[in-house]
């Protein structure tokens, strides 16, 4: 089964907002992103001692795309196919009741399961930490990994929960008034990370941002 082709209104990142945030400036370009991912892939292999038992789980939407890229790099580095899956956290969110019911994204756990594995969660932006909290809750219902690690392309700070990333592409100190947008070629036609003013407080364009 493949992931749904349709665009999803509740997607946490910028898929629905093709326009850049107000006064956007680019902080990472295509080659920066590529370098970051390559570095993270190496770090995973290094810290996981060959990545023998690693399972990559991407959090929709852009986390999946990043996880897929990491998956390709890990294959190059290790010469093996690292198990790869997706994890939708919608039904574990703590802000479900704040908005109309949301359409679900696809969850696909790779055939070997998660028990005893080192699960690396992959997301685009780490902000409040609430998405990751929901992902950890979801993981608890899916199996019992040996350990869980977190890889993000951007850590923009402002945590609201005691959560940190194990692999960070770029630390980006931001103001709460700012919006961080990750654009990936598969969804957006280009690779870039942008910072701009938040256009409005309810916008979902701030990756993992305002709502969480």
């Amino acid at each position: 089964m493949t992931t749904s082709a349709r665009s999803n209104e509740n997607s946490s990142s910028s898929s629905t907002a093709k326009n850049s945030p107000g006064n956007a400036r680019q902080v990472l370009d295509e080659s920066d992103i590529a370098r970051s991912l390559t570095r993270i892939a190496h770090e995973i292999v290094e810290r996981a001692k060959g990545a023998e038992d690693v399972v990559l789980l991407g959090i929709p939407t852009r986390g999946i795309l990043l996880a897929r890229r990491l998956h390709a790099r890990l294959a190059q580095i290790t010469g093996r196919e690292i198990p790869f899956g997706t994890l939708d956290i919608t039904m574990y969110r703590d802000d479900l009741r704040l908005k109309p019911a949301r359409a679900l994204e696809h969850t696909e756990i790779p055939p070997g399961g998660l028990d005893g594995k080192l699960v690396v969660l992959v997301d685009d932006v780490l902000f409040s930490g609430r998405t990751v909290r929901a992902a950890l809750d979801a993981l608890g219902d899916l199996g019992r990994p040996r350990a869980v690690q977190l890889a993000v392309l951007v850590d923009r700070g402002h945590r609201e929960l005691p959560i940190r990333a194990d692999y960070v592409g770029k630390n980006l100190p931001t103001s709460l008034r700012e919006a961080v947008k990750v654009k990936l070629v598969e969804e957006d036609g280009l690779d870039a990370v942008l910072i701009g003013d938040r256009d409005d407080s309810t916008s979902s364009s701030d990756a993992n941002g305002s709502a969480r």
């Binding site: 089964m1 493949t2 992931t3 749904s4 082709a5 349709r6 665009s7 999803n8 209104e9 939708d88 039904m91 574990y92 479900l96 009741r97 704040l98 908005k99 109309p100 019911a101 949301r102 359409a103 679900l104 994204e105 696809h106 969850t107 809750d137 608890g140 219902d141 899916l142 199996g143």
Partner: protein, 330 residues
């Protein structure tokens, strides 16, 4: 989506696909070690059953519990309903108990709509079968089952698939809900029944009608057999059980006329030997058990989409190209 699920006629194509797609995700939950989601924690769902229906009530109850809702079973037998309390008083009672949703099964057509449109109750109303009117979640689980076999994939509909519904259409809430929903999903529906069991005014329904099962079977991608109660015989709807089975029952000889890929469905409970032969009900092309499993996923999806947020889900307006209605593969 509307706030209530009373009739499949209220579902747009986008609503229907959203429910089917959501149910695909819910189906995964049922395969996990922990078959539970925290999603409806703190929500109260009342199963208000004025008619005995262990199958449907259990299916809803499993769905509600898998979503962590608080479940209250309110059946006519153990309450004041059987003592002549009006529907209004029952509704006011449930409202006072803080019901976020009421799943209602009632012998009278229209009772769920009456609850939904009254101001007696503020929660969502889910029709679990009303009289001879509708049974929307059954139709949704049927469509879900058909899609898995005939056009699998998220976002897909049933465009051009030929669905044949056979039996007591007149008294069937399943048939009514299926006709609306399958039409919305683009399927071509044919009802097959003796003329006495075809509803008056069926010409206005979005489907074809035939009295000849043998003529329709070779052109069917799915055939759904409806239960025929033996009591109908006494009201002269058909002469004998034997004659009904001979003309409208699905036995091995008839089933052989179906295309190879076609599936055989039954909403249950079956009358084996009446409308369907045991060897067909138990055959590889029968989806009867699968339908029961899918029922839980569909009911989880409906409850989630109605109750999971501050208000029911907004069906996304889909870009036309993402409606992946591929050519009929057969």
């Amino acid at each position: 989506m509307k706030r209530h699920l009373v009739s499949t006629a209220d579902l747009t194509l986008d609503d229907a696909l959203l429910i089917l797609d959501t149910a695909e995700e819910m189906a995964q939950v049922s395969t996990r070690a922990v078959k539970k989601l925290p999603t409806l924690r703190g929500r109260t769902v009342v199963n208000l059953f004025f008619e005995d229906s262990t199958r449907t009530r259990t299916s809803f109850e499993v769905a509600e519990k898998r979503l962590s809702a608080d479940v209250i079973n309110f059946s006519a037998k153990g309450s004041s309903v059987s003592k002549g309390e009006t529907l209004k008083d029952t509704a006011l009672t449930l409202q006072a108990m803080g019901a976020d949703a009421v799943v209602i099964r009632h012998g009278a057509s229209g009772a769920p709509q009456r609850l939904a449109e009254s101001d007696w109750l503020h929660g969502s109303v889910v029709n679990a079968g009303d009289g001879t009117h509708e049974h929307p979640t059954q139709a949704l689980l049927d469509a879900f089952t058909m899609r898995r076999h005939l056009n699998p994939g998220l976002g897909r509909d049933l465009n051009g698939r030929r669905i044949t519904i056979v039996g007591d259409v007149l008294h069937s809430r399943v048939a009514r809900s299926n006709v609306h929903l399958l039409h919305t999903l683009g399927a071509e529906v044919t009802l097959v029944a003796p003329p006495t069991l075809v509803p008056y005014g069926v010409e206005s329904w979005p489907c074809a009608v035939s009295y000849d099962l043998d003529a329709v079977l070779p052109k069917s991608d799915a055939v759904m057999m409806l239960r025929v109660q033996r009591e109908r015989m006494n009201a002269a709807f058909f002469p004998t059980q034997r004659e009904y089975s001979l003309r409208y029952g699905l036995d091995a000889k008839r089933a052989a006329a179906l295309p190879e890929h076609a599936i055989v469905m039954h909403p249950g409970p079956m009358v084996r030997g009446m409308e369907i032969a045991s060897e067909i009900a138990d055959s590889a092309r029968s989806t009867i058990v699968e339908q029961v499993t899918n029922g839980v996923s569909i009911r989880m999806a409906v409850l989630y989409l109605l109750l999971g947020g501050s208000e029911p889900a907004l069906s996304p307006a889909r870009p036309a190209e993402s409606r992946t209605t591929e050519e009929h593969s057969k």
